[in-house]
């Protein structure tokens, strides 16, 4: 056993009760220079009869409580985070610094336009850059997340088809390897999905696609590279076939990191693409958001972009709020501007001279991991991968070891597990996405850990795998209990 090779060790982590369990009187209330006065008699009639029972802690206790909680987390700053399809890359600290500049952080969304020209300039600039990088003619920043972008994209497709007098087209083709958000978004647009069975190589099968192309087809939703991490080499023909049948092609940009600066989805025939800036452009994931899902569109869909929209005239920015052809508004504001400041800063740091290195190093890293692991883990689809590689637990199953055991063992060795059991088309899937910001040293260490786990399986020394994880503050958690008798709030 060579655990000392890896970074994980048994340091001190502190137990910390729920803040409701701190036996504590609420400390002195905060002191602010705001206006003092009795509540007016009109409003007094509506006063809360019982307090909400929010336990106040003093400032030092609050800090300690949340710092202790933070130490139970694994973040990209803590260690390797190879979650396939999630693009967990380093989040530059300067991006946090600039997003907190008061002139960007404390700006009200309804300030007069002349008082926010700097902000509008940065947003407009990012819009242009995203269009350039993705190869489209325009971009909306309104969608607050990838799935929200899907909704916006499908709404535009719907409106475009309606404008063509094709209200009857309601079928959305979705490969069986797609993200679950795809069919859910289609349903919200009043459309229905038909699943395309992937070909033997994990890619879209042209014959299968042709079978489903008819007068009902509204769109094909596809991810390229797909969720198996391989490029859809027939992309041009796929788009052509869908267009010939009268449908449009929606691109799920979850895997754009494989292409940044090297190739552009818009050049390949897609009609729109949502971009997960929290993946490709390194805005922090925050433990599950905030993200942002701007949508890039070609000339076909451009008339239908949501409002409000930023418009530039002679270097002066204004906001357009109405447009008859637009799909309308899908958020209270222009978008998650704070997230976009960080995305703008990430692209600013690379520029035209380095931007392609994002895709190059991301793809290099994924193929490097694949080359090191393919002799001991089953690879379902042969060949080079793009920015992520797909393995399965087939060879470890013989020893009674499953993907979940491998994942949990990685935790004990100091790594965040890869994405497990996705895509659904592969049994026991392990999807590994290293991203461009990981060093060779880290990749070597991770691969050593994976090789060691495989060797333990071969040697029948599997107890540590089934018991894992042992080192974190909590061991495997009982999900069945949580779902059977849901406790979502503290009743104490």
């Amino acid at each position: 056993m060579s655990e000392n090779k890896y970074s994980a060790t048994s340091g001190i982590q502190q137990e910390e009760p729920l803040l409701f369990e701190h036996a504590h009187e609420a400390p002195e209330s905060i002191n602010l220079p705001g206006v003092k006065g009795e509540v007016s008699s009109d409003l007094a009639a509506f006063k809360r009869k019982t307090p909400a029972n929010i336990p106040g802690l003093s400032e030092p206790e609050t800090v300690r409580h949340f710092v202790r909680l933070s130490q139970w987390n694994h973040g990209i700053e803590t260690g390797f985070y190879p979650l396939g399809s999630c693009t967990m890359k380093y989040n530059p600290r300067v991006n946090e610094q600039i997003a907190r500049l008061p002139g960007l952080a404390h700006v009200h969304p309804d300030q007069p336009e002349d008082s926010v020209q700097g902000m509008l300039g940065l947003l407009s600039e990012l819009q242009g850059w995203l269009a350039e990088i993705a190869g489209f003619s325009d971009v909306t920043l309104q969608p607050a997340a990838g799935a929200h972008g899907e909704l916006a994209g499908l709404m535009m497709i719907r409106k475009c088809l309606d404008a063509r007098g094709e209200q009857n087209r309601k079928k959305v083709l979705v490969p069986d390897s797609a993200h679950g958000t795809n069919p859910a978004s289609a349903a919200l647009c009043g459309m229905y999905t038909v699943e395309l069975k992937s070909g033997a190589d994990g890619r879209i099968d042209l014959d299968e696609l042709k079978k489903h192309l008819d007068d009902d087809v509204a769109a094909l939703m596809m991810t390229n590279p797909n969720t198996a991490g391989t490029f859809e080499t027939d992309i041009k023909e796929i788009c052509q076939l869908v267009h010939d049948a009268g449908g449009l092609v929606y691109g799920d940009g979850a895997n754009l990191n494989a292409l940044v600066g090297v190739a552009r989805p818009g050049d390949m025939g897609l009609d729109c693409l949502h971009i997960n800036v929290h993946k490709t452009f390194s805005t922090p994931h925050g433990g599950g958001g905030p993200g942002a899902g701007p949508v890039a569109v070609n000339d076909t869909l451009k008339p239908f972009l949501p409002v409000p929209r930023i418009v530039e005239n002679d270097g002066v920015f204004s906001i357009e709020t109405e447009d008859e052809q637009s799909i309308g508004t899908i958020l209270s504001t222009l978008g998650q501007s704070g997230v976009y400041m960080r995305a703008n800063a990430y692209i600013s740091a690379f520029g035209h001279n380095h931007i392609h290195q994002i895709a190059q190093d991301a793809v290099l890293n994924a193929n490097y991991v694949l080359s090191k692991l393919k002799s001991v883990y089953h690879v379902p689809f042969e060949g080079l991968c793009k920015h992520e590689c797909l393995l399965t637990d087939e060879w470890q199953n013989k020893h009674g070891v499953k993907t979940l055991d491998i994942a949990k063992r990685l935790i004990d060795l100091g790594f965040h597990p890869m994405t497990v059991y996705f895509p659904l088309i592969v049994h026991g899937a392990m999807l590994i996405e290293p991203t461009e910001t990981e060093s060779k040293e880290t990749l070597d260490s991770f691969c050593d850990a994976m090789l060691e786990i495989a060797a333990q399986c071969e040697a029948g020394d599997t107890q540590a795998l089934h018991d894992a994880p042992l080192k974190p503050i909590r061991r495997r958690l009982d999900e069945t209990q949580a779902a059977r008798k849901p406790v979502l709030v503290w009743e104490g």
Binding site: E479, T480, A483, R484
Partner: protein
């Protein structure tokens, strides 16, 4: 688990026990096994009419979810309220206390294709 001989089965892994004009529905042992630990069963309202083959409820485990389809048409006359607090009865006794609903059969001709236990066992082996 042995398959009770008085049941009939559907390809969606539902079972039905027909006694006079009353039918009891549930999901098969194979189905509960495939779903894993069942955490929630969504039951229809008493009085609702269900067509044969119609989805009348939902069975959920931690990681999977499955609609339940009526083997025969009928009007719901009783639901297994015990499942509201103990969904795992479907795991522990799918053919007994883990039954899901009872209906008054409205149209015998509208049956979906039903299999006897031997046929169902063969179907599972395929």
């Amino acid at each position: 688990m042995s398959v009770p001989t008085d049941l009939k089965f559907t390809k969606e892994h539902e079972w039905v026990r027909i006694e006079g004009d009353t039918a009891t529905f549930g999901i098969s042992d194979h189905a509960q096994e495939a779903l894993g630990d069942i955490v929630f069963v969504e039951l229809p309202e008493v009085g609702r009419s269900i067509d044969a083959g119609e989805a009348y409820g939902v069975v959920e485990s931690v990681k999977a979810v499955s609609d339940t389809y009526a083997p025969v048409a009928g009007e719901v006359i009783e639901i297994n309220e015990a499942l509201e607090s103990e969904a795992d009865l479907v795991n522990s006794d799918p053919y007994g206390v883990g039954w899901i609903i009872k209906v008054k059969i409205s149209d015998n001709n509208a049956e979906t294709e039903l299999m006897n236990p031997e046929e169902y066992t063969e179907f599972l082996d395929e």
